[in-house]
């Protein structure tokens, strides 16, 4: 069986959806290959379920989780309503470095992690794109903010990002729908911080949840159970947004349950010719050919495909003449830096579940080096919340008195979680495991990853500053941490096929195109040369839209 297309897009997650949309809308015939099962928009089986309708009250079967989901079940969005949006660990193995831990939290289904993502949308600034060059960690980005700004505009306009323009140099404003309001405690803390620290700003999280209807998508219903899937289409996902746009062109062929094993190459022209696809439903392998390939399988899986695609020409992995393929992977070092009881608002509450928190953008090491023992920076996310019945698990008391207590809205708490920039290091690296294979006989991915001293110093500073800000706002500081969670815990794993000027030190050029293979593009998180401290998805989408535009131009000009 074989098929020929103008382009093949591997992966239907947040960037694969964008590649499929952009390329089909440019008139190309596109094959979109998804390794997991189909999940049509609106057909989200647990979306409307109450806890009492679930066999394990929404928490899932702990016995099953120990056996089949020991890693995935550690994810805060993983539960009985969402477990089908996560991989089974027992049949999707990977290995980690000696003495290391890495949470590779994944979803293999149509839409990938666009169904479960945190939806936070933040632009990078030139503090970020210029960072590698400025302090010498990693290799210089081949682009700057001005290269990406129009693509951020385009992406935000289509995605629908609600947020507040704040005029901050470290977190450029975008094209926003009206923001969701801060709650009464957050508003108070914003005021205190702004007054005491003029260089810091607490604002509502910029989120891909609609506050205005948009092209057949309803506005947010304030359920905040997004990871179950949203039939209102109120948050951006492949299903709600890019896939229908791509399908409307008539140029898209979608296949699910299909794993791309390898990208194939013509040793003479050194161009990619197509992909080998394993259909997991039938066990059969097929070959699809195209004039260009877009890898959007997620950062680590795109690298994994390249590492698997070995040939005489590229014995160490496709597009790896530099030897840096798989190296310099990153994930934000994150931790709960502070939690405080907040006073003075005992007679106030909220209605509805706002699907975003707050953000305090980076303020360290911008125009002056004020990081104590670290370069670059960190930002906080979190918010103020009130307790409900689960506080009873941590309180003494039984009987009618306790029941009466839990009947009431609980006290206000404010939480600040830090995301610190992860420096690119050669030792943090993906390779093929020499022994372990997955259920399909493919070599498992080996992940060697450690956070470094820079990240730990940033988190130590973040804990001190979180306490200072929460106490300045009148809070009673309860606790906080300064050590990062295991690698992967931010679910911002990225890098491994970094962009760069130089084919000797980078895998991709300034158009996300492989230096070695002129018709091969990688536009997901693998392309990242540094991590900044912002949630990365918006940047991945902007890079994808930009690369698609460049690829179409190159194709039309006969340069691919």
């Amino acid at each position: 069986m074989s098929a020929t297309f103008d382009a093949i897009v591997v992966g239907s997650g947040i960037t694969g959806g964008w590649a499929a949309k952009e390329l089909t809308q440019a008139g190309l015939k596109v094959l979109l290959v998804e390794r997991g099962p189909n999940e049509p928009h609106g057909d989200y089986p647990t979306e409307m379920k109450a806890p009492w309708e679930m066999p394990f009250r929404g928490m899932g079967d702990a016995e099953e989780y120990l056996k089949s989901y020991p890693v995935q079940s550690g994810n805060r969005h993983f539960n009985e309503y969402t477990q089908h949006h996560f991989v089974r660990d027992d049949i999707n193995p990977y290995t980690v470095g000696e003495g290391q831990a890495f949470n590779w939290w994944r979803g293999y289904q149509l839409g990938g992690r666009s169904l479960t993502w945190g939806r936070q949308c933040y632009r990078w600034s030139d503090y970020d794109f210029g960072a590698n060059k400025a302090d010498g960690h990693g290799s210089d980005w081949p682009i700057r903010y001005a290269d990406l700004a129009p693509w951020y505009d385009k992406v935000e306009d289509f995605v629908g990002v609600s947020g507040s323009a704040e005029g901050l140099a470290s977190l450029p404003d975008g094209h926003f729908q009206p923001p969701m309001a801060l709650n009464v405690v957050e508003q108070h803390v914003r005021g205190v911080i702004g007054q005491q620290w003029p260089d810091r700003c607490l604002t509502v999280g910029r989120t891909a949840n609609l506050t205005q209807e948009k092209e057949g998508r309803a506005k947010c219903q304030y359920r905040s159970i997004c990871a179950r899937g949203c039939s209102y289409g109120a948050y951006f996902s492949t299903q709600s947004s890019t896939l229908p746009a791509a399908q409307a062109t008539g140029n898209l062929t979608l296949v699910t349950d299909s794993i791309v094993d390898q990208v194939e190459i013509d040793p003479v022209t050194k161009k990619a010719t197509g992909v080998l696809i394993l259909n997991t439903a039938t066990g059969k392998t097929m070959r699809a050919t195209a004039r260009m390939i877009f890898l959007n399988a997620s950062a680590f899986n795109s690298v994994h495909i390249l590492l698997r695609s070995r040939s005489e020409l590229f014995p160490n992995g496709l597009a790896n003449s530099s030897g840096v393929l798989g190296t310099h992977i990153m994930d934000h070092a994150s931790t709960l830096s502070g939690m405080a009881l907040m006073h003075g608002f005992e007679d106030r509450t909220t209605y509805g579940n706002r699907p975003t928190g707050i953000v305090i953008p980076r303020f360290r090491n911008l125009d002056k080096a004020d990081g104590h023992g670290f370069t670059r920076g960190y930002s906080y996310q979190g918010g103020a919340l009130q307790s409900t019945w689960t506080q009873g698990k941590r309180m003494p008391g039984i009987g009618a008195e306790m029941k009466d207590n839990l009947h009431k809205v609980g006290p206000w708490k404010m939480v600040l979680v830090t995301y610190a920039e992860s420096l690119p290091r050669a030792s943090n690296r993906l390779t093929l495991d020499p022994v372990k294979t997955d259920a399909h006989g493919m070599a498992a991915l080996h992940i060697a990853f450690d956070h470094g001293a820079n990240e730990r110093a940033a988190l130590a500073d973040a804990k001190v500053e979180a306490k200072a800000m929460l106490e300045a706002a009148g809070g009673t500081y309860l606790f906080g941490f300064d050590q990062p969670g295991a690698g992967g815990s931010s679910i911002h794993e990225m890098g491994g096929a970094r962009m760069g000027h130089d084919p000797v030190t980078s895998v991709l050029d300034k158009w996300n195109r492989a230096h070695d293979v002129p018709n091969l593009f990688v536009t997901d998180g693998a392309a990242m040369a540094s991590s900044a401290c912002q949630n990365p998805s918006l940047t991945y989408m902007a890079l994808t839209a930009r690369a698609c535009d460049a690829a179409v131009t190159m194709l039309k000009e006969g340069r691919l």
Partner: protein
């Protein structure tokens, strides 16, 4: 619950359990567990069930709304323990080693309940479940206060109480009558007054997870 005999509860429970097993001709707890695994409902022995019922009722009694017994929290508690919910598939840390070893064919989770039962019987100097309700309330209050002393996080009562509260507040009555449940709020109001009538939401998922 009617007996006030002097036999220790473990003995009594074993006697009751053995008697029941003999009467039913079903054999050992392991076989019982296998039957459960095959889809049958006998998860626990009668002593465990009696204890689960008393503890559930004492923690969440009927007031102006129904309590734990009305929404079958004991069934939930035994199911949850048999599946190791809330971390009960593992042994507790500290001094509270359970009678049943990890790796036993019978779920470890039920041993957490047994451990609480042993302590309550020791405090009762007899059979806790046979005491009058007021005496049970006082003993369980004392055990609860001890378990929530600083540094006593490993006390098995934490898990049992956790699962009783979970069973109640994730039931339809606990979640939507005792508390408020709104799956589709439809709007966000960032600052509204609390009145005497304001009830907490069981559908405030952030509060459920992090409150």
């Amino acid at each position: 619950m009617a007996s006030t005999g002097t036999i220790g509860s473990m003995d009594r429970r074993q006697l009751l359990g053995a008697g029941l097993l003999l009467a039913l001709g079903v054999g050992t707890p392991l076989q019982l567990w296998r039957r459960h695994a095959e889809g049958e409902s006998d998860i626990a022995d009668v002593g465990q069930r009696a204890l689960a019922e008393r503890l559930s009722d004492l923690v969440v009694p009927a007031t102006d709304t129904p309590g734990a017994l009305a929404v079958k929290v004991p069934d939930w508690l035994l199911l949850a323990l048999s599946h190791g919910q809330a971390g009960t598939a593992a042994q507790p840390t500290g001094p509270y080693v359970l009678a049943r070893p990890v790796g036993s064919a019978v779920p470890v989770g039920l041993a957490w309940l047994d451990a609480v039962g042993r302590q309550l019987n020791a405090m009762a100097k007899g059979d806790f479940v046979s005491l009058a309700a007021k005496a049970q309330h006082d003993l369980l209050s004392a055990l609860d206060a001890e378990a929530f002393k600083p540094g006593n996080d490993a006390h098995p009562w934490h898990k049992i109480k956790d699962l009783i509260l979970t069973g109640y507040y994730t039931s339809e009555i606990g979640g939507s009558q005792e508390l408020r449940y709104e799956l589709v709020p439809g709007r966000w109001e960032p600052d509204i007054p609390i009145t005497l009538q304001t009830r907490a939401f069981s559908s405030d998922w952030t509060a459920v997870d992090f409150g």
